[in-house]
C-alpha cells in the first residue's frame, strides 16, 4: 500500500512544477497579508474544498489510462488499493488544513480581530467539509468516472441550497440554529468527527465493492 501512496504523492509533485509551488505559496502569503484574519478564514474553508477535487482528477486519469486495472496484478488486496486512495486524498486535505490553521493562528495573534477559538473552529469546519466532499466523490468516481463528479457536485449544491432554505425559513431550522449556538463547540466538533468517520467507512466499503466488481 505504501507503494501506491508514494505513486500518488509523487504524481502530484511531478504535475506541480517548482514555479507552480512557489506561486501557490505566494498566493497564500498575499491572501494572509492583505486579507488578514478574514483572508485566512477564507483559506481555511476554501483550501480543503478546492484540494478535494485534485485527487479525484487523479483517480479519473488512472481509470482512463488503465492503471486502476493494472494495479490489480500487484500483491495488494483490492480493499488496500482503495484504502490507499482514501488515505492519500484525506491526508492532502489534512495537510492544507494544517497550513491554513498555522496562517490563521498567526493572523489571530498579530491582528486580534477574531478570537483564536473561531479560527480553530473554522479550520476544523473546513477540514470536515473537505473530507466530507472527498468521501462523497470517491465512490461516485469509482462507479461512474467524470459523470460521478458531476452527480455529486449537483447533489452537494442541492443539499446546500436545501439546507440553507430549511435553516432560514422553517421553524425547525431556526430551532436547530439556536440549539447549535447554545451547544458546547467542542462537543459539536467531536460529534461531527464521529459522523464523518462513519460516513467515510461506509464510503470506503462502497468504493471497494464497486472497484472489486470491475474485475468480473
Amino acid at each position: 500500500m505504501s507503494g501506491l501512496l508514494y505513486k500518488d504523492f509523487q504524481l502530484i509533485l511531478n504535475k506541480i512544477s517548482v514555479k507552480s509551488r512557489l506561486l501557490i505559496i505566494l498566493v497564500l502569503l498575499l491572501v494572509t497579508i492583505f486579507g488578514r484574519e478574514s483572508g485566512t478564514i477564507f483559506l481555511s474553508i476554501m483550501g480543503p474544498i478546492s484540494l478535494a477535487s485534485m485527487p479525484t482528477g487523479l483517480l479519473i486519469a488512472d481509470q482512463e489510462s488503465g492503471w486502476n486495472r493494472f494495479v490489480g496484478v500487484f500483491p495488494i488486496p483490492k480493499r488496500n488499493i482503495v484504502l490507499a486512495r482514501y488515505i492519500f486524498c484525506i491526508s492532502l486535505i489534512v495537510s492544507i488544513s494544517f497550513i491554513t490553521l498555522i496562517l490563521s493562528i498567526a493572523t489571530a495573534l498579530i491582528f486580534q480581530q477574531f478570537s483564536l477559538q473561531i479560527h480553530i473552529l473554522i479550520s476544523i469546519v473546513g477540514l470536515l467539509i473537505g473530507i466530507m466532499y472527498v468521501v462523497l466523490l470517491l465512490p461516485a468516481v469509482y462507479a461512474s468516472g467524470t459523470f460521478g463528479i458531476t452527480i455529486v457536485n449537483i447533489l452537494v449544491l442541492v443539499l446546500i441550497m436545501g439546507g440553507v432554505y430549511i435553516l432560514q425559513k422553517t421553524t425547525w431550522g431556526l430551532s436547530f440554529i439556536a440549539w447549535i449556538g447554545n451547544t458546547n463547540s467542542f462537543l459539536l466538533v467531536i460529534t461531527s468527527c464521529i459522523l464523518i468517520a462513519v460516513i467515510s467507512i461506509v464510503s470506503m466499503i462502497i468504493s471497494t465493492k464497486v472497484y472489486s466488481n470491475t474485475f468480473k
Partner: protein, 211 residues
C-alpha cells in the same frame, strides 16, 4: 522427473456476448517457457486475464503454484510477474521513481538486478518515461518485472510493435535470465519467430467459427 505444475487449469470457461473461451485441462510445469500463439481474437488475452484474476470465469478452476486466488491472491501475486503490451506506469515518472514505487510494493525487490538491467538496456534514469520510445518502454517493463524475481512470468504481446533488433535483445536477455533462475514463462504473441527463439513448449489457441 516429477515437476509440480505452476499453472493448473481445469474446465475453465468464460463467455462474452459473441465469444466463449473454453479450456478443458492445462498444466504448465515449473521451469518451462511456453509460447501461447493464436490468431487475433482467439482468446489469448482473455486466457491470460483469467490466469491473472483480472476477470472471473463462469465455471472452472485456476490454480497458480497450487494456490487458489480466492484464498491466496496476494501470495500468488508476490511471485507473479506481468508484462503487458501497453505501458501503465505513470508517464511523468522516471526510471528511479518507478523503482521507488515498486520496491515498496514487492518485499523481495532486487535493487542491484534492476540497476544492472537498466544499465544493460541503456535507459536514462532521471528522464520522464513519456520521452521513451516504444522499445525503451518494453525494456523498462521487462527490467521492472524481473527485478522482484517472479516464479512465473506472464507476458501478453510484450514484444508487439517492436523492431526486430529490440525484440531479439529482449528475448535473449529473457532466455538468459530464465536459464539462470528457476522461472516459468508464459509468453503470448502472434509472432511465431519470437516464440521459436525462446519457447520450449507451445499452446495453440484456435478460433472456432460460430454455428
Amino acid at each position: 522427473m516429477d515437476t509440480k505444475p505452476v499453472i493448473d487449469v481445469l474446465n475453465l470457461s468464460k463467455r462474452y456476448k459473441n465469444f466463449q473461451l473454453q479450456i478443458n485441462n492445462l498444466k504448465i510445469n515449473e521451469g518451462s517457457i511456453v509460447g501461447l500463439i493464436g490468431e487475433n481474437g482467439s482468446g489469448k488475452s482473455t486466457f491470460l486475464n483469467l490466469l491473472l484474476n483480472q476477470i472471473k470465469s463462469e465455471i472452472g478452476n485456476v490454480k497458480i503454484f497450487g494456490l487458489d486466488y480466492v484464498k491466496d491472491e496476494c501470495q500468488i501475486k508476490l511471485n507473479l510477474g506481468v508484462i503487458l503490451e501497453q505501458n501503465y506506469f505513470p508517464n511523468s515518472f522516471s526510471v528511479q521513481q518507478i523503482e521507488k514505487m515498486l520496491e515498496k510494493v514487492y518485499p523481495c525487490w532486487d535493487k542491484k538486478l534492476y540497476h544492472n538491467l537498466i544499465d544493460e538496456f541503456d535507459l536514462p534514469t532521471n528522464k520522464p518515461i513519456s520521452n521513451f520510445s516504444r522499445g525503451m518502454l518494453a525494456k523498462l517493463n521487462f527490467a521492472a518485472t524481473l527485478s522482484h524475481h517472479p516464479r512465473l512470468l506472464i507476458a501478453d504481446e510484450a514484444t508487439s510493435g517492436l523492431d526486430p533488433i529490440v525484440r531479439k535483445e529482449i528475448l535473449s536477455m529473457l532466455k538468459e535470465y530464465v536459464n539462470d533462475n528457476q522461472m516459468t514463462v508464459l509468453l503470448s504473441s502472434h509472432i511465431l519467430s519470437d516464440l521459436e527463439q525462446v519457447a520450449n513448449y507451445f499452446i495453440f489457441s484456435k478460433r472456432s467459427k460460430d454455428r
